[in-house]
């Protein structure tokens, strides 16, 4: 919101500089984010009146005689929108227009031109501050503009504009008079006196003429507690006067015609939306009611709107004429031929208007003001102000006002002194509290231990005791309160066990050389398809996504972790070892969120430095990682064969713990990034299974005996089966069997392979003898023969 410092000063004279005022307003909760200084760029542009204008023979140019008050100048112009009597901006010889071009004497085909007539753009005025027709041709000024006046005095171009950003509860500051009231509060505080708002918006002393027999009926009383109607007869719709035009300019309102301009002015200056109906197009009684299903109304913007039961309507005997507080109907709108108007000034409930405007997706200046909450006592004053202005601007004759009111008397708000002290943790004296409320113009009754406060009717934010305590803080200053440490019984704080577990798991993964990534939880179908995810039925869909790419909650970490892989490869990062622990989502008849671990590997672990040491990420590196994770959590893990769309069919395993599938890992499938390995593990399952307690396991003090064996068997037999054949014997003394060689080829027959193991035996009771170990080896030989049809070759 842009607020004119010039208009503030005009409304409430003060000696603060713009930056002082900005700082003070900000400290009270009306944030001024910046100040725009605006200074006119043109020089020596004055107002003049066209005394005579005529086409120069055989040209498209006009010769005009301009009266500038001091002299009469002959000026040639190509503009076609001029006629005798127009008042226009004239750039005198020696002047400069807004873009810096100098204007002097010129000669067009033998005719002298002493200056230039100016368009809006040549004055540097923003397009949205003039009416549509004013954007073209020479700028025609209001007919009551004096001549011979510097243009910067005609439209108040030079100004300082506050860029104000308001909190939702500052409904009392969404319009100029509201900001002016806060300036009055600032002055009252600085001068240590009660605020006096009566100087802002003095009510005109007007006489009501004429009858007003328009009947008003409110059927939705809680949505419309107050309605005022007034007829203004015999108006003349035209451009607004210079005086009003200047105010519109400062309020950043685009001029339309004098009637609309007046209603807009009252809304932007006083915060009260008004609506002017063409009285002659109304039919009978005014009724405020909710819409019925099936009703329609074409609004001012020419759109036919289907109404719903959230819409509060203004209707007459023939049907809807306006969506209350949002937008009027086209049928009853004020046009250039309107003679009599019906002026509405109403108080609609914020919630009703919010529902109505949102149900239509139609948000207007009026609906925004109502939504925030307007001054519930200002409707009659606004009507009076508008009527007076319409009398001046449009020569209208106002009638008396008719009102229907269901306004409830607002309750006084109680505030106890000891409650103030208790909430703030610091004593604020009763006299200070009263002083602060005086600064804000609150009325109150002192009851000894408490105050009963009446806040002004525009202060919609004062409803409970705590609201008043906030005002104490506001007036005393947020930073004038002491800092105190918490008191009370000291207890120790802690994380939840699950959080502790996650941190422990993350530490473990980092120690294993993985970098933790943090990806977005929102994904699109193309990304999911790229990692071959196809279970679209269980996807959790957003009703209002920002884009197609962020339409669903991620059902797996694979998609976004894969995206990280690709992005890093694209920027030239070659070695990638990453993990993420995050929520994944799915729905059945309700929503589920689970925590998942995703690990992605690509490239190598060792950075090359010329030493030819290589540690490439591959299937077994990842398998080792997975085994390490489970070992670190003391969870027994098994692997078995299964296929997953995203993983290579021959380099993949399912991870099983506690008899259930808990994840999988493997190489990424064809069409995905090459030489990349991914693991996915359910973290909630890990948490359930992990054993926090670690127990010491004793080891033998006798030296171990090592034996190497080679097993020749069918090449298709999985190594795991061999290990199972060895360990299945449950030889207590067998401590380990390390596979140190896999061999295929001559002299072995085709389809045979040799697996070489180093076996380590030891006993708790003694040093094992050669014969004892031989016995074990014989047992193993038998088992190998029986279980995997292998042949043992001892070394």
């Amino acid at each position: 919101m842009l607020i004119s410092m010039k208009l503030i000063k005009e409304t409430i004279p003060n000696n603060y500089s713009a930056s002082q005022l900005a700082e003070k307003l900000t400290s009270l909760g009306i944030e001024v984010e910046g100040i725009r200084k605006i200074k006119h760029n043109f020089k020596h542009i004055t107002t003049g009146k066209i005394e005579n204008i005529e086409l120069i023979h055989d040209t498209k140019l006009f010769k005009s005689i301009i009266n500038t008050g001091k002299e009469k100048l002959q000026i040639i112009t190509a503009a076609t929108n001029l006629k005798t009597g127009n008042i226009i901006p004239v750039a005198l010889p020696g002047s400069k227009i807004a873009n810096g071009t100098a204007v002097g004497k010129k000669n067009f085909k033998g005719v002298d031109s002493h200056g230039m007539l100016c368009s809006v753009s040549e004055l540097g005025i923003e397009n949205d501050l003039v009416s549509n027709e004013e954007k073209e041709g020479i700028f025609l000024l209001p007919t009551d503009t004096p001549i011979g006046v510097p243009f910067e005095n005609v439209l108040p171009v030079d100004d300082e504009l506050f860029e104000v950003s308001l909190l939702p509860d500052r409904a009392d500051a969404f319009y100029l008079a509201g900001i002016a009231r806060w300036v009055e509060i600032i002055m009252a505080r600085d001068e240590n006196r009660p605020a006096n708002f009566s100087k802002i918006g003095q009510l005109p002393d007007i006489q009501a003429f004429g009858k007003n027999d328009v009947e008003i009926e409110i059927s939705s009383k809680d949505m419309c507690p107050f309605y005022s109607g007034r007829i203004i007869r015999n108006i003349y719709v035209k451009k607004s006067s210079l005086n009003l035009r200047q105010k519109l300019f400062l309020l950043k309102i685009r001029p339309i015609n004098n009637i609309v301009d007046v209603t807009n002015y009252i809304m932007k200056f006083y915060g009260q939306p008004l609506h002017a109906f063409d009285f002659d197009r109304l039919n009978g009684k005014i009724i405020v009611r909710t819409a019925k299903v099936g009703e329609k109304l074409t609004t001012l913007d020419g759109v036919e709107r289907k109404l719903n039961n959230h819409n509060l309507l203004i209707s007459d005997d023939s049907g809807p004429i306006a969506i209350a507080g949002v937008m009027g109907g086209e049928e009853t709108a004020v046009t250039e031929t309107t003679k009599n108007i019906f002026l509405e000034s109403a108080y609609f409930s914020g919630q009703a208007i919010a529902k109505s405007s949102r149900s239509l997706g139609l948000i207007t200046d009026a609906s925004t003001l109502y939504e925030k909450g307007i001054d519930y006592k200002f409707q009659s004053s606004a009507s009076k102000l508008a009527a007076n202005l319409m009398k001046a601007e449009a020569n209208g004759s106002p009638s008396e006002e008719r009102t229907v009111s269901y306004i409830l008397k607002k309750q006084q708000v109680k505030v106890r002194y000891d409650r103030i002290n208790s909430i703030l943790g610091e004593e604020v004296s009763p006299s200070d509290v009263k002083k602060y409320f005086d600064f804000e113009g609150f009325k109150y009754v002192d009851q000894g231990d408490k105050l009963l406060v009446n806040a002004p009717s525009f202060r919609q934010d004062i409803n409970i005791e705590e609201d008043l305590i906030e005002e104490v803080v506001r007036m005393k200053g947020y930073n004038e309160f002491k800092e105190k440490m918490l008191e009370g019984k000291i207890k120790s704080g802690s994380r939840t066990e699950f959080e502790d577990f996650l941190l422990r798991l993350k530490d473990k993964l980092v120690a294993l050389g993985l970098v933790e990534v943090n990806t977005v939880s929102l994904v699109g179908i193309p990304l999911l398809q790229s990692v071959k995810f196809s279970d679209a039925e269980e996807l959790v869909e957003l009703v209002n996504p920002l884009s197609e790419e962020m339409k669903y909650l991620r059902p797996t970490l694979l998609a976004t972790v894969y995206e990280v892989l690709e992005r890093n490869i694209n920027v030239g990062v070659e070695d990638i070892a990453i993990f993420e622990i995050g929520k994944i989502f799915h729905k059945t008849n309700k929503y589920f969120e689970k925590t998942q671990l995703g690990i992605m590997l690509h490239g190598k672990r060792v950075e090359e430095n010329g030493l030819k040491v290589s540690l490439k990420y591959d299937f077994f590196y990842l398998k080792g990682l997975v085994e390490e994770i489970f070992e670190g959590l003391n969870i027994a893990v098994n692997f078995s064969q299964k296929e997953y769309p995203a993983l290579h069919p021959f380099q993949v395993e399912e991870i099983i713990a506690d008899g259930k599938e808990i994840g999988c890992f493997g190489r990424l499938n064809k069409d995905l990034e090459k030489n990349s390995y991914y693991a996915s593990i359910g973290v909630d399952e890990l948490y359930k299974l992990y054993v926090k307690k670690i127990k010491f396991i004793p080891y033998s003090i006798y030296p171990p005996v090592k034996r190497d064996i080679a097993i020749v068997l069918n090449g298709e037999v999985p190594e795991q089966s061999v290990r199972e054949a060895i360990f299945g014997l449950r030889i207590r003394e067998l401590k380990s069997a390390t596979l140190f060689d896999v061999y295929k080829g001559a002299p072995l027959p085709n389809q045979k392979k040799s697996l070489a193991y180093s076996l380590e035996f030891s006993s708790f009771d003694k040093t094992l003898t050669g014969e004892e170990v031989d016995k074990f080896i014989n047992e193993i030989e038998l088992s190998i023969k029986e279980k995997v049809q292998g042949e043992l070759r001892k070394k």
């Binding site: 900000t26 305590i469 105190k484 440490m485 993985l514 920002l546």
Partner: protein, 338 residues
């Protein structure tokens, strides 16, 4: 006498030029049974009586001198031979070390952990809650009914059935107060979602740290004291906090909290846009309606709450210019925070 000096000189010349293999020879030549020193000893008897003692002394000194030099020289030769035998192991030690690429916890995890550790040490428990929330927990229970203007402050992602993605960690306040009776000291951290277009300071996903204290006499002064202590421990002991008016429906009075600029200490610089302050988040005294919604009697208990952005804290602390970097996951970014 001159003889002794001469021999010493001669030895000194010879020891410098002699090869390693000839040392032994030199030793025999001077110290051997028939060596030069032995010759001197034999001559003692020929020296006049008055000078005999002095002569003997000088010869002994010369002998000790030669022995010492030869011993030193032999040791030197030995160590040179040792070195020679190790030369085959010579490597270019100036090459860079062999590096395993190491892991790193995410900057967000690190920041959350640091924040949690500070509050845990002040007696706060860490709570969590779901990312898919109901309208009730995310808004209504927090005194933000439907059509409340404050809903516009947080543009929300909706799911079906009046469910949504939490826009703040504040619903965890409600869940905590529903479960535990006061006194309560809790913080909650987690991922939040807002329907904001991404720019350098906004992203549709971000993390928050939420704090809530409810007890009989918890005050605005305690809120200031707690956040001030946190700021000092997180950003340095000279860090200060500033409160300014703000509005959040679940607190009253409500405040925006800023810390003194970590770059300039409050003097004003481009980072703080010459204000001296960096805005960190909202705070205030728990609104009585919120307490009533969880059946806590506002006349008996009162409390404070605050919510700060984790990314914002990290951006300030590590001078990260753009919030989007947290979600780009460029390893050149992530590996900087080990």
């Amino acid at each position: 006498m001159q003889e002794i000096e001469k021999i010493k000189k001669r030895f000194e010349d010879e020891i410098l030029t002699v090869m390693a293999s000839e040392i032994k020879e030199l030793e025999i030549k001077y110290l051997g049974r028939k060596g030069m020193i032995a010759v001197f000893f034999q001559e003692i008897k020929n020296v006049p009586e008055g000078k005999k003692r002095k002569f003997g002394q000088d010869v002994n000194e010369l002998k000790a001198y030669i022995e010492e030099i030869i011993k030193a020289r032999l040791e030197e030769i030995k160590s040179q031979e040792n070195l020679k035998s190790l030369e085959k192991d010579k490597i270019d030690v100036t090459m860079t070390g062999l590096r395993l690429s190491n892991g790193a916890p995410n900057i967000i995890t690190q920041t959350i952990r640091e924040v949690e550790d500070i509050f845990v040490s002040m007696g706060f428990d860490v709570m969590t809650g779901p990312e898919i929330e109901s309208d009730y927990y995310n808004f209504e229970a927090l005194n933000i009914p439907e059509y409340h203007p404050a809903r516009d402050m947080q543009d929300t992602f909706y799911l079906a059935q009046k469910m949504l993605l939490r826009t703040q960690t504040s619903p965890i306040q409600i869940r905590t107060m529903e479960t535990y009776k006061p006194p309560i000291r809790m913080i909650a951290t987690g991922r939040c979602f807002r329907r904001d277009a991404a720019d350098s300071s906004h992203f549709p996903i971000f993390h928050q740290i939420e704090g809530l204290v409810v007890d009989k006499k918890v005050s605005f002064a305690n809120l200031k004291g707690t956040l001030s202590e946190f700021a000092k421990r997180m950003f340095g002991k000279n860090s200060r906090i500033r409160f300014s008016p703000s509005y959040f429906p679940f607190v009253e009075p409500g405040a925006e909290t800023a810390i003194s600029c970590v770059m300039c200490g409050g003097k004003g610089c481009p980072v703080c846009k010459y204000s001296g302050w960096l805005e960190m988040g909202g705070s205030g005294m728990v609104h009585p309606n919120v307490l009533r919604n969880v059946s806590i009697e506002p006349e008996e208990y009162q409390g404070f709450a605050f919510g700060w952005g984790i990314e914002r804290i990290a951006m300030v602390k590590y001078e990260i210019p753009d919030i989007r970097m947290f979600y780009q996951n460029d390893l050149r970014f992530l590996r900087q925070f080990k």
